[in-house]
Amino acid sequence: MTQVENRHPSETLEINFGPQHPSTHGVFRMQMLLDGEKICSLKPVLGYLHRNHEQIAENITYAASMAYTDRLDYLNAMTNNFAYAIAVEKLAGIEVPERAEYIRVIMAELARLVNHITVIGFLLNDMGAFFTPLLYAFREREKILDIFEEVSGSRMMCNYFRFGGVKRDLTTENLTAIMQIVRRFPAFLEEFEALLTKNEILCMRCQNVGILPANLAVNSSITGPVLRASGVNYDIRKVDGYSIYKRFDFRIPLGEKGDVYDRYFVRILEMRESLKILYQALNKIPQGEFLNKKTLPFLKMPRNFKPAVGEAYGRIESPKGELGFYLVSDGTPQPWRYHVRAPSLINLTVLEDICIGQKVADAIIILGSIDIVLGETDR
């Protein structure tokens, strides 16, 4: 990457961004060495939000961990649940009914919408737009969170997925409400884009800032919109085709340069693709069971749920990248090993590489565009 060689011995300023800083998205610390406003070195310091997630999960039942996965990436509890459910279902070999799969996809894509608009709003906030894009994003987010609350009981900590299905069925009113959101969302996106996409200041700030080359991205195992913004066609929804994603007609937007602007715009386009998936899923959703009846006893008595000895890795394309759960069972009600492959943490590893040589203000928006949630990074 671009290294700033010290041509002239100028005074550098060591500065701590965070853990209490308005735009580090939580308790994240960046130890920066500045030459004027240019970044000479940047060390991310993690662990301020460490909550022992994996160890806790190894000491409670499989079902009880579901509630804890909500707290990983607290912006999209739905996809976290999804990934965990897939991992456990692989481990125990549980079938998922058709309708449940559709509900899962609908919820996951709604979560993607929530995540992407929120991230773009916060990115603009980091850029100094005084909350306007963020609040427009929240206006739409509220509508989706209302749906989440109605179906799962909680706006953010959904705890909605169960092994072999979901907790509650979607009613017709829910489906109509989701359809309404899907119908109205493009208009909102148009408005949002009119405000942002062609704004000269945003273009000046974002274009050619924090370029992440494709080879570096692949080598650092970056996933998600950040990777796709660098032009690498890799989306687990397409690669694995998990759940029922193979049935839907959608495409993967790819970026050109891998800078902040591409990351921003790829997210916008991804939302549009998500809307496509939602539209198809809502039109095709069949009647039927929402939960595999065989797993019901396990849900009533989680202690009795003892998967056979073995291991499983379940992964999905969460809005932030590849979210995977690695589980090893030793035949007891508790997993013997429980590991989370958190996209936020792994995407964060390139932060120093793409920040060096940029300005302080750029580091902030690069961090914003990588889209981390500290709950997931520190676990």
Binding site: A64, E150, E193, A194, L195, T197, E200, L275, Y279, N283
Partner: protein
């Protein structure tokens, strides 16, 4: 398949590619809006439009979506879960809970503490002597409600429980604070309560049906 009334024309869904691609980005390059500064001006038009429409649009159509909390309240959603409470039938001494301790065992953050009541002779009675929930620890996951075989613990809708203290009268709730009547449950979660009542009635009828036949021959 769920069929939706075709609102396509009115709601703006025309052709797929049209709707789901960004018209802003794909604007023709010779467009007059290409002038430097036009994008910023367009953004200003958007904010101005929102400023004006905030005065007369409805919340769900892009108007002001603030809920002025103490005066206005969000409509209560039945499935909303917040913190657990115990249900009694009729009078507070008829607690549904039998102190089996499943919820205590399954609670992920371990915020429930139960001991079983004993009668004078020291024999355990199917009733909780102590039933404490630490609301400060509870993470509102709703597992207790799910695992309870006796339909006695439910997630409440009350959220105004702020307290300056964590222990004592603060966030630790004892049995007497947790107990709420089944009418209350009926009020906040009509669907669930009706379902449970029906289940109970069915079970009772079944029991009667099962219990009666042996009674018959003896008489």
């Amino acid at each position: 398949m769920t069929n939706f009334p075709s609102k396509r024309k009115s709601s703006g869904i025309k052709q797929w590619d049209h709707v789901y691609t960004s018209s802003v980005q794909n604007a023709p390059s010779h467009h007059w809006l290409k002038i430097f500064g036009a994008g910023a001006l367009k953004g200003m038009v958007v904010t101005l439009k929102n400023f004006v429409t905030s005065y007369f649009r409805k919340p769900d159509q892009g108007g002001i979506f603030t809920v002025q909390y103490p005066e206005e309240r969000y409509p209560e959603i039945e499935n909303y879960r917040n913190l657990p409470f115990l249900v009694y039938d009729g009078s507070p001494d008829k607690v549904r809970c039998v102190a089996c301790g499943i919820c205590e065992r399954e609670c992920p953050p371990k915020c429930i503490y139960i001991t079983m009541e004993t009668d004078v002779a020291g024999k355990p009675v199917r009733k909780p002597a102590v039933f404490d929930i630490d609301y400060a620890v509870c993470m509102n996951c709703g597992i207790c409600e799910e695992v309870c075989p006796f339909d006695s613990i439910f997630m409440d809708h009350v959220f105004e429980i702020a307290s300056p203290r964590r222990i004592d009268t603060g966030m630790i709730r004892h049995q007497e604070d947790l107990l709420k009547s089944s009418e209350y449950l009926q009020k906040i979660r009509p669907k669930t309560a009706t379902m449970i009542d029906e289940k109970k009635r069915a079970a009772e009828e079944k029991k009667k049906a099962v219990v009666k036949p042996p009674q018959g021959p003896t008489v």
